[in-house]
Each structure stands twice: as C-alpha cells, then as structure tokens.
C-alpha cells in the first residue's frame, strides 16, 4: 500500500497597526502586563467593538497579494468558546463571508515552482496571553496568569486548501506567506515574536484515492524547523498506524519540542461547537471597488513580483528565491549592482557569499553609506576581468567595509593589479618548470593534480600578482604543447 500525506495550513498573521482591531488601544510590544487595555478589549460589560479601517485595508492587500477574490458584502461573526484568556468568551471572527476567497500563492522548492491554493483569508482578533505557573510541567500548573495586552490585536487567518504534500512544501509556503506580509508592509512577520503562528492539518491516504484520511491538527510549532520536523513526524506516525491497521483519531496534537514528538492534547467534550452567528454589534461590512482600489494602490511589492524581477536578470530560480526571501537591502543592492556588472551569477555569489560573510564576521548589520552598488560593481569587475585575484578582492572588500575607498585606485596603489602580461608569466612559468624538473617528469596528462601544484608555485613566486587562469594556460602550453 502506497500512502500519501495531505496537509492544509492555517496561519495567523498579526497585523502591524497602531491600534487594536476593535478599539483604540495601542498595540504594544512589552513585558509589562495589562497596560494597554480598555473596556472593549478587556471585555468589560457594556463595551462595544468598532473595526479598524487600516486592518481591513491590510487584509484586502493580503487577499489581493494572495490572488484572492474579495467578498464585497461581508460580516463579522462571533465564535463562542470559553477560555480564560478570551475576554468575552467569544472571538470576533468571520465565518461564511471571509474577506478573501479562492486565491493561490506561488512557492519555490529548490529549483521548481509550485502553487498552493488558498481557501480563505479572514479577519479576527487575538486573545490575551496565559502564563501557567507551577512545577514547570504543563499538566501540573498551580495557577494561570493572564496578560491582556495582546487581546484584540488584529489577526488575519490564512487557510490553504488541503493540497500541500510534504513538510518541505509547507515550509516553502510559510516562507512565501511570511515574505508576502513583510513586502506588503502589513506585519512585522517575525516568527519568534509570534507575528506568524501556524497550525497544520495532516492526514494520510492511499495514493490515487479521492478521499482524504482522518485529519489531525498539529499546534505549537514555533519555528520553520519545528514545523518541518513536526510534519515529518506526524506523517510517519500516521503512516505507521495505517500500515498497522490502527485507526487514526481526529484530534488536536501539539508538537513537543523537547521530546521531538506530537502529543495528544486532551480536549473538552463538546468544545468544538462554536455556535457562530453574525455579531449584532457590527453591521454588515461593504468593501466597495473604491476601497479595493485604495488597498491595491498600497501594494508596492510582492515576493512573486520580486522573484520575476530577479529571474529577469538571468538568475536561477533558487538563487532568485534566496534573494527574494532575504533582507530587503540585499535584494536592492543586487539589482543595482547587477545592472552595472551585467553578470548575475558572479554578482549574486559575491554579495551573498563574500559580502554577507564578511559583514557577519565583522558583526556589521548595515552597509556603510559609501559602500554603494557602483563601488561593489567596480570591485566585482576587477576580479571578474582578472585584474585582481579573488584574495585581493576579498581584502579590498574588507577595507571598503571600514573606509571609503575607490576599489580600482586602491588596487593599483597597493600593487594588487594582476599581470596579464604573457611574457612576464612565461618567464615565471619557465623558471618554475626548471626548478621542479622532478615533478614535471611525473606529469602524465593536463588533468594531473600536480598541475595545480605548479600553478600554485608560480602564483607564490609572483606574490599573487598574476592571474591564475593565465598561468595555467601558459603552463599547460609549455608542458603539453
């Protein structure tokens, strides 16, 4: 029996607004508990919700960015369940009229493009935070502390169709979605801060079967790494169960980071009946064409558009995707640099390899003001045209990171320009051949490793001022004709 997994993702995105979703309390990032509360987000008797316009603009932008159609006449529903960190014991959410429906996201796995179908994008509010006190074990808490600062922060839930087929694909999807909200400027998109939180619905079924297997929901995955591990674990667990003819129970499990397993969460009986109904405090919401246009006009960039721009420079899909998901300045620097070098691969390699590496080592997070694309392009051109060795290029870059220099004049002032003068190289080669007759005699063919050794000797004797490519060429000509 061949089993295939099917995964659907539910992702909550915390929007980056000034005020909360249904009240004017400031959205705060602080450890000081319960300081940004009003009667509405604390669920005090008599308080009422009024939705945040910016949040609705943001969710329309996200829906458009995920190629969804917009529900023009929508409404808010109450989702009823009792939990201490949910102040009203119902969450204002959307049910049968979500803002965005039927969209798709293009994702990249290694060097191939895939599409993830989006089922819905809906607006809701966040809950407060619970801190369980006790012996440290989750099941022996002695009391629970509640902080409601997060209560009422605008959340968008993005739900995919059950269409994802592997942990890698799920990770690529989250990376794409994360980049989308960052590029749209609607969320800080920091996983470690909980700006993006995801659950995975996983089932396995026989290959070729039209029906899905029993669905298990996995929660508590706080990083892409744990997402990948949890999905892989759960697929294995379910596959084994099916193979052993055990039946899978529809349930919610959480990922245990320490044990590296998914564990069943005991759920309250009947708690799944959310009794959704249209919130009588909130009249029907009309999102008209004008509103959609205003939101559309705020979309400056999406990862899909950026990727196309990168592909257009000649870069491979996986390199394009790498820059797409990286820091904004690097993406911009690449584009302006490649315009001047005209060489996508060497520009990509130099920026992502050498530049990022040196910056990391030197603990520099921002490029110095003077280090613009013009200087970088001139440096890349120097070694690409064999005017300086790669080692020298690295040295020049290191200097550039601390001082405003012109790469070309610096290279010539410091005697770093490599000679491409064939006579000079020929003289050096001849003298190295003479000095190493024993080796020359052992050479069998041009692919012999010892050729490299001889090139090295020539380089050494020239103090790296000649171009290694030219050296090899001359050497081989001398030796093998």
């Amino acid at each position: 029996m061949n089993l295939k997994p099917t995964i659907g993702m539910e992702t909550h995105v915390e929007l980056d607004t000034e005020s909360k979703m249904f009240c004017s309390c400031k959205v705060v990032e602080t450890d000081e508990p319960n300081i940004s509360l009003c009667p509405t987000c604390l669920g005090l008797p008599g308080a009422l919700p009024v939705p945040n316009k910016k949040a609705i603009e943001y969710i329309v932008m996200l829906s458009l960015g995920a190629n969804c159609s917009i529900t023009k006449e929508g409404m808010f529903h109450r989702k009823n369940y009792f939990y201490p960190d949910l102040p009203k014991n119902y969450q204002i959410s959307q049910f049968d009229f979500p803002v965005g429906v039927e969209g798709s996201l293009e994702i990249v796995i290694e060097d191939s493009l895939h599409t993830v179908a989006i089922e819905r994008v809906h607006m809701e509010e966040d809950t407060g935070k619970s801190i369980h006190l006790g012996s440290g074990r989750i099941d022996s808490a002695t009391s629970t502390l509640l902080d409601f600062n997060r209560s009422g922060v605008p959340l968008v839930e993005v739900v995919t169709k059950p269409i994802i087929s592997s942990a890698k694909m799920a990770v690529a999807y989250i990376e794409e979605l994360r980049q989308l909200v960052i590029d749209l400027g609607i969320s800080k998109g920091k996983l470690e801060k909980g700006n993006l939180r995801f659950d995975a619905n996983i089932s396995v079924a026989e290959e070729g079967s039209d029906e899905l297997g029993v669905k298990v929901e996995i929660k508590n995955m706080n990083s892409l790494k744990s997402l990948e591990k949890a999905i892989d674990y759960e697929i294995l667990r379910q596959t084994k169960m099916v193979q052993d003819k055990e039946s899978i129970i529809q349930e919610t499990r959480h990922w245990d980071e320490n044990k590296q397993v998914t564990l069943s969460m005991r759920t309250k009986e009947g708690s799944a009946d959310y009794r959704y109904f249209s919130d009588p405090d909130l009249p029907n919401m009309v999102i008209n064409d004008e509103f959609i246009e205003i939101s559309q006009n705020q979309i400056k960039e999406t990862p899909e558009k950026k990727r196309k721009t990168l592909l257009d420079t000649g870069l491979s899909l996986s390199d394009s995707n790498y820059l797409d998901k990286g820091q904004r300045w690097l993406y911009e620097l690449y584009l302006s640099t490649v315009k001047e070098t005209g060489d996508c691969k060497s520009t990509f390699n130099f920026l992502t390899g050498e530049l990022q590496g040196q910056m990391r080592k030197a603990e520099i997070s921002e490029l110095p003001q003077w280090l613009n694309s013009e200087k970088l392009a001139s440096l890349i051109n120097l070694f690409e045209n064999n005017e300086v060795s790669f080692t020298s290029a690295k040295d020049i870059l290191a200097k550039l990171l601390i001082e405003d220099i012109d790469p070309k004049s610096f290279a010539s002032d410091n005697n770093l320009i490599q000679s491409s003068d064939n006579d000079e190289i020929k003289a050096l080669v001849t003298s190295i051949i003479n000095e190493n007759q024993d080796i020359v005699e052992r050479l069998e063919n041009p692919e012999d490793k010892l050729v490299g050794y001889l090139v090295g000797q020539v380089m050494k004797s020239s103090k790296s001022k000649v171009n290694p490519g030219s050296v090899k060429e001359v050497l081989l000509k001398e030796l093998f004709g």
Binding site: S36, V50, I131
Partner: protein, 94 residues
Amino acid sequence: MTKDFNIDDISNLASIHLEEKEKLKLQKDLEIVLEHVDALKNIDVKDEKIDIHPLSKVLELREDESTPSLSHKDAMKNSPETKDGHFVVPPSIE
C-alpha cells in the same frame, strides 16, 4: 422536536453548572418556550435576506489611531485575584 433537547449538553456549552432539581424546572420551562416558537415553522422564509442591523446600516470603520487606555489600576480594580500586574485564575490547563 424537544426530545433532542439535552440540558446537560447545553449547560456544558454555556458553561453553567446546573443542580439536578434546577435541571427539571429549566427543562420544563424551555420545552414550553420551544413548543411556542415552533409556530415559526409555518412561515415561508425561502427568499428572505438577513441583515443583522434592523435599519440595514452599513458598517463604518474607525481610523487607525490610538487613544489612551484605562489606567493599569482601573483595568485591574475589579479583578478577583492579581499577581505582579496579572489577572490570576486557577490553572486553565487540565
């Protein structure tokens, strides 16, 4: 239809613990009301559109501006139990 009415399920959903003698009275009263509202079944509502606002008002949105909130003291003053600026409840994990 009232045979489906299971007061234990409903009180569980509503998070209200009921004593046995309370259940009997409530069950009886609720059955009386449910029988009365059964009359609605005879009304033809096929093409009816629903609007939650009786005057069909359309939602107006608020500008994204923050205004000062309740003071921490006012926010906490009705709390049955507090600790280090938090509200405290018995453990919410079973």
